[in-house]
Structure formats: C-alpha cells, structure tokens
C-alpha cells in the first residue's frame, strides 16, 4: 500500500511540474487561449462547468464500464472455449485476430445506423475495443499452466473442475487485472468515439460542443475529466492487485 501512495505522489509531482512549465510557456509566448489554453484557464473552466462535467462523465462512465464488463465476460468465455476445446482454437483464434485487424472506430457509424443514438452503440464499441486484450490475456492466464502442475493435480485425483477453479482460475487472475488495465482505456475510447458520432450526451458530445463554439478551454477541461476517470479506474485495479495478489509481489519487484 505504501508503494501505491508513493507512486501516486510521484505521478502528482510530475503532473504538477508539467502544468507549471506549460503555464509558463503559454504566458511567455502569448499563445491565445483558443489555440492552447494554459492549465489555469482550463482548470478554471473545469471548475465552472463541474456539474456539467459530472453529468456527462457519468453517462460516458456507465457505457464504458458496461462495455468493459461485457468484454470481460465474453472474453473469458471465449478463452475458456479455446482452452478446453482444442478444435475451437484453430477456429476462434484466427477469426478474432482477423476481426481485431478491423479498425473498430471506423465501423462505429454503422452501429449508429443499426442501433440509433442511444447507449447501445456506445456500449457495443466499448465492448469491442476491450474484447481482444481481455481474450488474449485470459487465454494465456487459463492456458499457460505448468504441465508439471497439471500432472501433479491429475496424479492426486484432480478432476477438470477442481483443476479449473484451484489452478487455472487462480493462474489467470493477474493476467486478468493486466487485461483490465489495457482494456479500460480502450473501452473509454470506444464510448467517446461513439458519442462523437451520434447522440447528445456524454463527454464525447461535450467535447464536440466545445469545438463547435471554439471553447478550447472546455475541450481541455473535458480531457482533464476523462483523465481523472481513467486514473481512478487504473488506480482501483492496482489497489485490488495490492490486496488480492500479494503473492505476486516478488515478480513485480
């Protein structure tokens, strides 16, 4: 836990230093606010629009987390299929890899055509963005168990179910927390991009309206809000790891 706090403090110090340099640079060069607002300017805008920020971030956060949860469930389920049914491995792996090659952001307009301007296309895009990293990590977490461990388990009389929940699942946990750290920001990209394309709610929409009125400070204020959200999400995962995956401490050191 001490390590986590130290990391947070270090990160905060780095960001403070960065903002200070930025502030100084903008003041000295006299760049106009509509091109590049100084941190003081967009932080002030953030504060002014706080209720608005909270309202829209709540919507974006909901679709992001829903998409991420779906990605976790479906990704783990697909991984289970691949790990347990050898025949599926040759089918699912290439199919998913090929699918991952499609820039999902590019097909987002299709989702708006199919599902309208509501939450569905946002959740769907967030889900698709998060699916692949979850799947890949789950496959290695559930599948890459030392063969000697499996022999030992079988020899002691272990059946598939016991081996699954006492060996494979535990082995997969750190892979899954790693997966969430990657998939979470990706799912957020999915939600925000879908908001760009259609609808009148969410941080993506707020950014667009800032752009339309050349309110650059508002755009930056939104980016700041999103960054806070991502950091909080990743932070939550790290805290879970710190408590639930204590045994992994040595590997990270």
């Amino acid at each position: 836990m001490g390590r986590v706090i130290r990391q947070i403090l270090t990160a905060s110090a780095v960001i403070a230093g960065l903002f200070f340099t930025w502030e100084l640079g903008v003041t000295l060069t006299g760049i106009p606010e509509y091109i590049l607002p100084a941190p003081s300017a967009f932080l002030e805008r953030f504060w002014e629009t706080l209720p608005l920020q909270i309202e829209h971030l709540r919507i974006t956060a909901t679709t992001t987390l829903a998409g991420l949860a779906l990605a976790l469930v479906v990704g783990v389920f697909l991984a289970l299929a691949v790990v347990y049914v050898k025949a599926l491995k040759v089918l699912v792996l290439p199919a998913l890899a090929a699918f991952n090659g499609i820039p999902k952001v590019a097909i987002a307009p299709l989702f708006v055509i199919w599902f309208g301007l509501g939450d569905e296309p946002k959740v769907l895009l967030a889900f698709l963005m998060g699916l692949f990293p979850v799947f890949v990590n789950a496959v290695s977490g559930l599948g890459d168990v030392e063969p000697d461990v499996l022999d030992l388990a079988k020899l002691a009389g272990g059946n598939e179910w016991r081996i699954f929940h006492k060996v494979r699942l535990m082995n997969a946990l750190p892979h899954l927390t790693d997966a969430v750290k990657v998939a979470f920001p990706l799912a957020l990209v999915g939600s925000v991009v879908a908001e760009f394309i259609g609808g009148n709610r969410g941080v993506g929409y707020l950014i667009l309206s800032g752009q339309a009125s050349l309110d650059t400070s508002l755009v930056f204020a939104c980016l700041f809000a999103i960054t806070l959200f991502t950091s909080a999400g990743i932070g939550a995962v790290v805290i879970v790891e710190e408590f639930a995956l204590k045994w992994r401490a040595s590997r990270r050191r």
Binding site: V149, D151, K154, L155, A156, K166, W247
Partner: protein, 256 residues
C-alpha cells in the same frame, strides 16, 4: 526373480517405450520392495523421466506391465506421488496450503489434513515458514515443501525425479541427509532418480543402473550400509566400494 516373502510396492515388467523419434526404454524390468528406497541411475536421456511418467500412469507404455501394490497401472493413480526437479509450487499458496494441494485435488476436506500437514512441516524443518509464500523461501526450502506435499496422502509409492538437481552443491548434500531423516520416519517406498553416484549410494537400499539410450537395465546393486548414513559414511570403505561398482557399470558403457 520374485521373492514372494517380500511384498512388492512396485514391479516393472519388460517396460518398453517407443517414441516417433526412436526407442527410449527397452525391456526394462525391476522392482521396489515395500518400504525400501530404490534409485535409478543412468546417463542423461536413458529414459528415467519417461519411466517415472509411465509408472505413475501419466504416460502409456508401448508394452510392458506396471504394478503398484499388486494393482496394474492403466491411468493416473492417486496412490503415487511425484517430486520433480523444480518444486512447482503454486505461487499464490502459502506453505501449508501448497502441501494441502494434493488433498484438495483428491476432493478431500483439507481441514482433515491440516494437522498432518503441520507435522510434515515440522518434520521437514520448515517451522516458522508455514504461512510464507513460495517466493519468500529458498530453493532448498521450496523443494522440502514439494516433498511434504508429495507425502501428505501417505503414497504407496513416492517418485522423485532428480529432486535436488536444481540446487547448489552444498544445499544438495544437506537435502540428501534431510531426505534420509524424513524417509526414516515415514518409510514410504521411494523410487528416486539421480545423476549423482554419491547421492545414490548414500540414500538407497537398491540401485538400478541403466544403460544409455535406449534405456535397459545394466545391473542391480544392493546397498546394505547401516542407517542413518552420515558424512562419516562417505569415508567407509564399503561405501567407496559400492560407489566404485556403480561407477564401473556406468563407465563400462562409455567403452562399448
């Protein structure tokens, strides 16, 4: 060949294993009397690990018959336990929970084995490390946990495949004596594999010397040195004589 008065924990009859790459084991026969310590010695690649896997039923033989406690082996048998060269502990389990792993895999209530696990911890000199994670233990201690795990269900046959092969030379020597001490308490029948002639003679009641690829039986040597054997034993002329005989059998192959 069989002495019917001594019950056999393990009999291996004309065991042959052919891989697509060639014959690994050729007509290997030997036996391990109950409560005895039997060691397989042979050059690398002569099929010792393969023989161990076949004996546990994890790998089918090409031909031949294995019996453990009189019962024919035709699949993984819960009556045998394995210790590998690496400890293969589960990193998320503390010492006691790693030892209880075999009980859980068998489907028993681990609470029933808690006391036995703690006794084994004490026997193996791991007191104070009951709640340590594997990464907090030294290599020698990890291997002792693996031995305790293998002994938890009191197996009819304990198979150890070069269990000290990954340890440094000093730890290895100490682990040999530790194993002897543990074994003299539990007296499970052991089938041990090693490259070290010294280790083989110090630990065994019988040594089965194997030829290089394909593995065949070269000789069986009866080690009748009194126990417990100690560093003193290393200077005993009978020990030197036995070690010499094992070496002769191994070196004879170099000339062939």
């Amino acid at each position: 060949m069989t002495d019917t008065r001594v019950p056999m924990a393990l009999t291996v009859e004309r065991l042959t294993k052919v891989f697509p790459t060639g014959t690994a084991i050729d007509q290997l026969s030997f036996e391990a009397p109950e409560h005895k310590f039997v060691t397989l010695v042979g050059p690398s690649g002569c099929g010792k690990s393969t023989a161990m896997r076949i004996i546990t039923g994890l790998l089918p033989p090409t031909s031949g018959v294995i019996r453990i406690g009189g019962r024919m082996v035709d699949g993984p048998i819960a009556d045998a336990a394995l210790v590998f060269q690496s400890p293969v502990l589960l990193p998320w389990r503390r010492t006691v929970d790693n030892i209880l792993f075999t009980a859980e895999m068998r489907g028993s209530d681990p609470a029933q084995y808690q006391e036995r696990a703690l006794n084994l911890v004490r026997l193996a000199g791991l007191n104070g490390f009951e709640r340590s994670y594997p990464h907090e233990l030294s290599g020698g201690m990890q291997q002792r946990v693996a031995i305790c795990r293998a002994l938890l269900l009191d197996p009819a046959l304990l198979l150890m495949d070069e269990p000290f092969g990954a340890l440094d030379i000093l730890t290895r020597e100490r682990m040999g004596f530790e194993l002897q001490r543990i074994w003299m308490t539990t007296r499970n029948t052991v089938l041990f594999v090693t490259h070290s002639i010294t280790e083989a003679v110090l630990l065994s009641d019988y040594i089965v010397v194997m030829t290089g690829r394909p593995g065949r039986k070269k000789a069986t040597i009866n080690v009748d040195l009194p126990r417990p054997r100690s560093t003193k034993t290393l200077e005993d002329p009978r020990f030197l004589d036995l070690a010499g005989r094992v070496r002769d059998h191994l070196e004879a192959q170099w000339v062939e």
